[in-house]
Amino acid sequence: MPVAIGNYIALSSVMFFIGVAGVLLRRNPLVMLMSIELMFNAANLLFMAFARAWLANAGQVFAFLVITVAAAEAAIGLAIVVTTFRSEKNVDVDEIRLLRG
């Protein structure tokens, strides 16, 4: 069954904006990190769909690269969140505001 590329674009943009909304609206750093992962994965889905549409392998390679980098990012992100939790006993980014832009 052929599926039009537009469907993939629509799904991935929905995923992407759920991710953006998560970062903007949620206040727990862990959930914010998860939302960022969702943004990355929306891009991955798009890479895979376009790789198939163009028959270009570069898109698949890119998706693997993103998965690897996102794993490193999650590791570092969790480490930073854990050190913050240990010192602040606090899970709300609104309460973490010694520095104000």
Partner: protein, 475 residues
Amino acid sequence: MTIPFTSADWNALVPIAIVAVAALLVLVVDLFVRGYAPRYVSIGIGLIGGIAAGVVVAGQFGHNYNAFFGGFMTGGFTSVFEEIVLLALLGSLILYGAIGTPDRVAGTTALMLWSTCGAMLMAGAANLMTIFLGLELLSLSLYCLCGMVDRKTAREAALKYLILSSTATGFMLYGMALLFGATGSVMLADFVNPALASSALFWMGGGMFLIGLAFKLSLVPFHTWAPDVYEGAPLPVTAFMSVATKAATLAVFARFLYAALPSGAAEKLLLPMWIVAGISMIVGNAGMLAQHDLKRLLAYSGIAQAGYILTAMAGGSALGLRYAMFYLTAYTFMNLGAFAVAAVISNDGEQGSRLTSYEGLAHRRPLLATAMTIFLLALAGLPPTAGFLGKILILSSSVSAGYDWMAALLIAGTAISLYAYGKTIFAMYARPRHEPHDPKPCAPLAWASVVICAVAVIAMTFYPLTPSNILPLVK
């Protein structure tokens, strides 16, 4: 079956590999060296690695190589941006040696070297994958570096930087996916195709890609992270971040602008970027007025300086790129110099970042106050410093490219900034403050970098006045 590995690949690889291997060496050697030595051993290896890479890159000036099937370009402006990043590495390693805490030296040095690798990768990237990889290597190392000291503000800076910067990376990555969708290729060189000017995917992808770049450059709607992160991060890290991130991102932007846009689309796609740069020059300079902390002051100054450099590139002339690189080099010296002064003033670098500790500095330490005056004058763009010449060159290139309004905004921004810089300079000279003279011996390494930066900022004023550079000023 063989896999081709050309001398171009080798040339592209060597400088980055030197820095990466130096980082591994730092970590391994740290296991075997005990006692007081690790601090100097780690930083020494880092400095040697940085200098070696700098020498190799210097040998590549003027030779253009197209390495890894077009994924990485060496020579050309890549070499200049790589040298600027390495300069930032050396400067901040010296500052770290002067004031850093001794217990985490190996890790911090290694992370600084790795983020340098990322920045160098971005400097030569001609392929979306290479850009993404370099950007993430730079950013991930910087998140860790921000949180490398035991201080509440440092942890907060790391968390803020992590969340906001990753979100921006998400935008950029999604933009890259759309660009890939528009072209079926990840090579920047394939974006020149004029048929793309009518592709909706290309416009959306290009726009989101530019949003990511604007965030990394801390241009105005996306600038709020910069003052907080600069203030919270350890001083040497702030010094490194302020220069290396800008240089690497500007290199990517230059590659995108000069080598990767369909001819009809460039002006329309980039117009928002120029507008954002123009607003940054006003808002960044106005933001400086309210600051009481040197790092925050320099963060807002950096927002404006990124706008100045983009002004030079507006219109996309080759001369503009040269002027942008000149100004970026000058900015590297003035910025590192200002941070080095803060390092000399206090050994931990934190007290030295409060602007009140500069009151009456000219009476306590006249030489240091003179150096700081030179750096602030250069940041403000007043003669006889490289900042002045750089601004004149930027103005000439933007006016001749037809971006008069950006030149006007640059002048307006400079006028605002004069008050903020002048206030600091005035406080150093006019307000005698009878504090007991600081008995702590100031670190000779930090002093050395202050002197080198001050000499460079003055000397650069006289360097580039060749006929080919003067001529466009006359026209």
